[in-house]
């Protein structure tokens, strides 16, 4: 049970406090309700580039990182298709410094041309390092546009291409900042050895006078129901054939989400999973295979991916794969398949909860989804799932017409 206390400031900032009296550290986590899905399709990658720019310093804090390092603190951030999340770890008695720097950059970021130019270069190098300069690195750049035709999940957080990053101007950056960075679009989560009154006082001291921003309403184009199987094949200089089969699934707040989460584990988490058993062990066609979900807020994807030992197996593999999916849908799974993955889920959850940073971050994320207390009630949803529910969901999901796939084949194997 992760206890927490919530309050909201006049300017709309939502605050969650979680007390942990056993730690000498504190975590200050700030989640902004903006991600790559909110970008202009013609200027993608901006949310992530902007995350870099948030470390540029602000009106009263010349150097954000230095101010924290001076008190033994450390900060980082990540951007996803849904959110942008910033976190600070520091000794608990230095918490006020975290609130000072974090509140200052919430509305008074001090951007210079030099910041923009440097971080643009840094992000371009990040783009190359993670997506372009290694085999299969660009999988999601290729796969997203196949899986999503309309919804902005059809581009990756890093952006569609380098050209978009190169085109961002100071006007674009400032417009983005003014649109999305303000107290009423943020959730502040604080964890550590403090008292409620102390936290309320400190938060009010540093955040109360920040002006509220414009009310935002998100109006994203929803993905139309997929009607037929989509497939993209790429032939290039890679050492092995890689395959990705993605199936449409419900969003994070759907009642079916926990069931689908466990389905992905039944299919492809670990050596006793159905796909591993069939394709690694029995047929011995793959060198790796796994299944996972993207976990996005809007309807997203369940992904089955792996690599073949031999490119010439692709044809047989694909035929067998669809027969196997049909077989799973027709015959369903056994109770023990469900129990296995559920128990593993519970263990993982208990270990994850030990981390102060995970607790702070999850509280903020669940609050965004509707209520921070989901952090405690989520497990119950997993505990009551039945094999019948799993089987019903399997039938609904594992349809070929709901699948988009990407196959990356070695060049030499080009079938003329």
């Amino acid at each position: 049970m992760i206890k927490h206390h919530k309050f909201t400031l006049k300017n709309g900032l939502r605050v969650i406090f979680h007390q942990d009296k056993t730690t000498p550290m504190a975590v200050v986590n700030t989640l902004y309700d903006v991600g790559a899905r909110d970008e202009n399709p013609e200027l993608t990658g901006l949310a992530h580039l902007f995350e870099h720019l948030m470390f540029s310093g602000s009106a009263h804090v010349e150097d954000f990182d230095k101010a924290l390092q001076k008190v033994g603190g450390q900060s980082n951030a990540f951007t996803s298709n849904d959110i942008t999340n910033y976190y600070i770890n520091l000794p608990k008695n230095q918490i006020e410094t975290a609130l000072w720097v974090e509140s200052d950059r919430m509305t008074q970021l001090a951007l210079t041309d030099k910041n923009l130019e440097t971080q643009r270069q840094v992000v371009i190098e990040e783009f190359k390092q993670r997506y372009l300069n290694q085999p299969y690195g660009d999988t999601w750049l290729e796969l997203r546009p196949v899986a999503f035709e309309k919804h902005p999940y059809n581009w990756a957080t890093i952006g569609k291409n380098l050209e978009h990053i190169e085109r961002v101007t100071m006007v674009d950056a400032l417009h983005f900042y003014r649109s999305y960075y303000h107290p009423n679009n943020a959730i502040l989560s604080i964890a550590g050895d403090f008292e409620i009154d102390e936290i309320e006082h400190l938060v009010k001291t540093w955040y109360d006078d920040l002006p509220a921003g414009p009310k935002l309403s998100r109006n994203l184009i929803q993905e139309p129901k997929q009607s037929e199987y989509r497939k993209k094949e790429i032939f290039r200089d890679v050492p092995a054939t890689a395959f990705y089969f993605t199936f449409k699934m419900d969003g994070r707040m759907s009642a079916h989400y926990p069931t689908i989460d466990l389905i992905s584990d039944i299919l492809g988490r670990g050596k006793s999973s159905l796909l591993y058993q069939r394709y690694f062990d029995e047929k011995q066609w793959v060198s790796e295979i796994s299944a996972f979900i993207l976990g996005s807020i809007d309807p997203g994807l369940l992904v089955i991916s792996g690599k073949l030992h031999d490119p010439s197996l692709m044809h047989s593999f694909e035929a067998d794969f669809w027969a196997f999916m049909e077989d799973i849908c027709d015959n369903g799974i056994e109770q023990k398949d469900l129990e296995k993955v559920r128990n593993k889920f519970l263990t993982s959850k208990m270990f994850e909860e030990l981390s102060l940073q995970s607790r702070a971050m999850n509280l903020a994320y669940f609050e965004l989804l509707g209520d921070a207390d989901f952090i405690n009630t989520e497990v119950k949803h997993y505990q009551v799932i039945t094999a019948e529910q799993v089987n019903a969901e399997l039938k609904k999901m594992l349809q070929k017409s709901q699948c988009s796939s990407l196959i990356i084949q070695p060049e030499s194997h080009d079938q003329k």
């Binding site: 450390q74 840094v122 372009l132 300069n133 006793s272 208990m350 102060l356």
Partner: protein
């Protein structure tokens, strides 16, 4: 409520480091069991160390293959049966092979402790390394290797280790032929020799009871073998510069470094501070220069890798290919600047405060505290070494740091590997 935003909040005093020492049980055989019970959830992590690392293997890959295949079957149970039982208990196992030892990690739920360790016991007594599982693993591992060889970072790390340790096993890397030469019998022999009877210590984190400890003692006690002595190695190396060009690469991986020492060396902790200033944190000179000023890279860092026998210092980064030479020049410039000028008081204070925070964090929670204990034990340091380190940190001077830079950061002693 009023506040002055232009004024940084008052800096709090340094907090005391309170390091929980594990309970130490010594079984009759002499096997040490270290226990930290202060964990809020009913889970456990048992970490078993075997004197079974790369140093002990007679040819490449044996230690890692044995680790990977340890749970691939026993006399009675197939891999699938083992895995399904563990899954049903909500347990996870992970076997890592390192330079001087292998580690078996078992994670699970406390109420399944006994059942989980029945499996572990069976594996330690009866692992069978079935031929078919071995062949599947060989095939998959070889493909992973081939894919990794397409990654500049992987190739650079191999070339770097080969150059640093040309005359001992630390520099031994696996080639494709090694994947073809290894046999299931090699693994089985290595297992019999090192896993069934070479346990060095057991570390237990979780709210365990005496019964849980008794289970562990019962299974492992007679498998104790006194810590494998670290071999004395031939540490001569030549400071070569090695460039492997990849015409299609967009980025180049750079690794620069030298053979240095273990944490037992008298200069280790002072050098650690110097290394942090150079490339060990976001505010470091390399990060500020290569990333925040020039935008050559997404990240650059330095570090020290420590073994019982020796250690090495390294700098690592991936830069746009067009910046490769400029980046090496910038690194050289920063290294030489540390040798030629004293570090300013402000910069030292900043690093000092940052490191203090990191030390505090490194003692936060049962798992972190166990790691600290094991680090001290492994390198034969006093258990209050963190307080000693804090003391060193508070008293080190710019002059001393410059001396260390002159002594250890000589460009002429550096191996430079560039791939891309």
């Amino acid at each position: 409520m009023t506040k002055n935003r232009t004024q940084a909040p008052e800096v709090g005093a340094l907090q005391n480091i309170s390091l929980v020492q594990p309970e130490i049980h010594i079984a009759k055989s002499g096997l040490p069991i270290h226990i930290i019970r202060e964990v809020p959830n009913a889970i456990f992590h048992v970490h078993i160390e075997f004197g079974a690392g790369k140093m002990q293997q007679k040819k490449p890959l044996i230690s890692s293959f044995t680790a990977d295949l340890l749970f691939s079957g026993t006399k009675e149970l197939s891999q699938l049966e083992i895995q399904e039982k563990l899954d049903m208990q909500g347990a996870f196992v992970n076997v890592e092979s390192g330079m001087n030892r292998s580690s078996l990690h078992v994670y699970g739920l406390l109420n399944q402790f006994q059942a989980t360790f029945e499996i572990v016991k069976d594996v330690l007594e009866n692992a069978s390394f079935p031929e078919d599982k071995f062949e599947m693993h060989r095939k998959a591992a070889l493909q992973h290797h081939k894919i990794n060889m397409e990654k500049n970072t992987y190739v650079a790390r191999r070339e770097f280790l080969k150059a640093l340790f040309p005359s001992n096993k630390l520099g031994e890397v696996a080639e494709e032929s090694d994947f073809l030469n290894i046999t299931a019998e090699d693994c089985n022999a290595f297992y019999q020799e090192h896993f069934t009877k070479n346990i060095e210590q057991i570390n237990l984190v979780g709210p365990v009871s005496e019964e849980h400890i008794a289970i562990v003692v019962d299974i492992f006690e007679h498998r104790y073998n006194k810590t494998t002595e670290a071999q004395v190695l031939d540490l001569t190396y030549a400071p070569v510069h090695h460039y492997i060009e990849k015409p299609k690469a967009l980025q180049s991986t750079i690794r620069i470094g030298r053979v240095l020492f273990t944490p037992k060396h008298e200069d280790y902790f002072e050098f650690d501070i110097l290394e942090t200033l150079l490339g060990g944190y976001f505010g470091s000179r390399l990060m500020q220069n290569l990333r925040e000023d020039k935008g050559y890279t997404y990240g650059v860092g330095s570090g020290i890798t420590a073994y019982e026998n020796t250690g090495y210092f390294f700098i690592s980064t991936e830069v746009g290919k067009e910046h490769k030479d400029a980046a090496i020049e910038a690194i050289k410039h920063e290294i030489n600047r540390l040798r030629e000028e004293e570090i300013g008081a402000d910069e030292l204070d900043l690093a000092r405060a940052y490191i203090q925070g990191q030390i505090l964090k490194s003692t936060d929670g049962a798992f972190a505290q166990m790691s600290q204990f094991l680090f001290a034990k492994r390198f034969d340091l006093p258990q209050n070494h963190l307080n000693q380190f804090l003391n060193t940190l508070n008293h080190i001077t710019p002059k001393r740091l410059q001396e260390l830079a002159v002594k250890y950061l000589d460009w002429e002693k550096m191996v430079v590997v560039v791939v891309g």
